[in-house]
């Protein structure tokens, strides 16, 4: 079905309205819908991962990303380049290999990189490292001194979003 407005592009948005007591359905392509000011799911809900991936090399940790270009996961051989292309990691070990980049990405995707939900209680004989109670700082997490340093750097870099998060984490620790 072609767009009712331009008649060129395929219609992607089907808008049903009541106009003067008549139900009218318009079939619009994304561009024409946007031009008409129709706020659609397509225009508001674009999957953000692509943008995040594209910006991986540019923002905080950007230098590290450049350094990591040749870095390959020792377990599965996947590189950061592979991840950028597919949006998928190769294996669980990738999370450790590319940890700094992923922490940054996860923070931007989810607003946090610190898991607070259910923890895996492994099969008998394979107990996971001591799990902290929910809300308590993770034992592997950075200490107060390191957080302060990160906070200072975040403020310097004018990364206030990160700074706010670090400040909140410091508050909890102190």
């Amino acid at each position: 079905m072609l767009c009712d407005n331009c008649g060129e592009r395929p219609a992607a948005i089907h808008l049903t309205q009541i106009e003067n007591n008549n139900v009218v359905t318009m079939h619009l392509c994304e561009q024409c819908a946007a031009a008409k000011g129709v706020e659609t799911g397509a225009s508001v809900a674009k999957f953000p991962l692509g943008d995040f991936l594209a910006s991986l090399g540019k923002t905080a940790g950007g230098e590290a990303a450049e350094d990591a270009k040749g870095l390959a996961c020792p377990a599965c051989g996947a590189t950061l380049q592979d991840f950028r292309q597919t949006g998928r990691l190769g294996c669980a070990e990738c999370y450790t290999t590319f940890e700094p980049h992923l922490r940054d990405l996860l923070r931007r995707l989810h607003g946090s990189a610190q898991h607070v939900g259910k923890r895996h209680a492994g099969p008998a004989g394979e107990a996971p490292a001591a799990a902290p109670a929910a809300g308590a700082p993770a034992p592997a997490g950075p200490g107060v001194v390191e957080l302060r340093e990160q906070l200072r750097r975040a403020v310097e870099a004018e990364n206030f979003e990160l700074a706010a998060e670090l400040r909140d984490r410091l508050k909890v620790l102190e």
């Binding site: 129709v38 991962l49 669980a92 923890r119």
Partner: protein, 360 residues
């Protein structure tokens, strides 16, 4: 052809409309993404890796009490029509349905079903556990999928990171691995043009919406899937609680919109829903999209009490069984579009006649 009578309720128990708010919220689904430690994710794994995942998971499933009486389908062994059928029932994702073809019959992808619980194996993640419930039932659905998760975790080494939580192939699922979604019918908000505002609002509160078939699908018949967008940094109950609150609010908006329609345009609305009913009851050719839109109109009529003698169960059933693979499975093999439309109209007519003949 697979024998879906092997599947308890055909995997469609949620159709019975027994759950809370089942008129507006058709179904609730909660899924958990999990991967086995020490094996590459499905996309990067070798055939041997995928075979091993299936074997390990199979053993764990057999040992889980929840799995008793369940069934397993190996996607590589299914005919394309059957894969589509399972997809139309929302039991397998498009990715899983296509996996066999993409990996030339060596995907080792599988679907397990037991009651309202089930799991996909060798999808994007090794494991996608899921539970379907009728109506608006987030807590119930989560508690069941959680039980399955705990049972499997007792014997399977799961990829888990102290900081990042459960590790998934796509970082958008990491942390809890939890995606909760409700299939919701919002004709009132669409007709009153409030829908764009509501959908935009969803985005601002960390939720997302999709079409009838989930990711990448279009919205048809005013059916929307609302789900959480983030999976990390909040505990499972927080994520569910947040989604639940917003869904309740959306349902309230929808009910208000319906009342506005009834108040301001009663004749238009009554005419619209009865026209939709009349077309479904007597038409001789129906496309899928038209059927969905008419079902939406009739569903609105039933919800408003304008069409009394029609059950939500029948509406749910029509929604599922008028899809292409379902028409084929009913013996209505219809290779050509025109024939399929005729077959669809005949099927809908039959069901509605039967329902109309039943004493109220």
């Amino acid at each position: 052809m697979i024998d879906l009578s092997l599947v308890p309720d055909g995997g469609l128990r949620w159709l019975d409309a027994s759950g809370p708010m089942a008129n507006i919220v058709l179904s609730t689904r909660v899924r958990l993404a999990r991967n086995l430690a020490g094996v590459p994710f499905t996309g990067r794994g070798s055939e041997a890796d995928r075979r091993r995942v299936l074997a390990d998971v199979d053993g764990a499933w057999q040992a889980a009490p929840l799995a008793r009486g369940g069934v397993r389908f190996l996607v590589d062994e299914l005919e394309p029509g059957d894969r589509l059928l399972l997809h139309e029932r929302h039991l397998i994702s498009k990715e899983l349905a296509n996996a066999a073809a993409e990996r030339e019959g060596a995907s080792h992808a599988a679907i397990y079903l037991a009651g309202s619980a089930g799991m996909m194996v060798n999808e994007e993640d090794h494991l996608r556990l899921q539970v379907f419930q009728s109506g608006f039932a987030l807590t119930q659905a989560f508690s069941e999928v959680d039980r399955l998760d705990r049972a499997l975790a007792a014997t399977l080494p799961v990829a888990f990171h102290q900081e990042f939580g459960y590790l998934t192939a796509c970082p958008t699922n990491a942390g809890t691995g939890l995606r909760a979604s409700v299939l919701i019918h919002l004709p009132g908000l669409v007709l009153t043009k409030e829908i764009a505002k509501v959908l935009q609002g969803l985005n601002q509160v960390g939720l997302t919406f999709r079409g009838l078939y989930g990711e990448g699908s279009e919205v048809v018949g005013n059916f929307f899937q609302l789900s959480n967008q983030t999976t990390l940094g909040k505990a499972e109950d927080e994520l569910l609680d947040h989604l639940g609150k917003i869904v309740r609010q959306v349902v309230r908006y929808e009910e208000q919109a319906r009342q506005v329609l009834l108040r301001d345009a009663p004749t238009i609305i009554e005419d619209k829903v009865w026209r939709a009913y009349a077309l479904l009851r007597y038409a001789r050719s129906l496309s899928f999209e038209e059927t969905m839109n008419l079902l939406s109109g009739v569903r609105l009529g039933v919800g408003l009490g304008l069409i009394p003698a029609l059950s939500v169960y029948t509406l749910n059933k029509l929604l599922i069984f008028t899809q292409p693979a379902h028409l084929s499975s009913l013996g209505m093999r219809a290779p050509r579009d025109a024939e399929q439309r005729a077959a669809r109209a005949a099927y809908v007519r039959g069901i509605l006649e039967e329902e109309a003949a039943r004493p109220a």
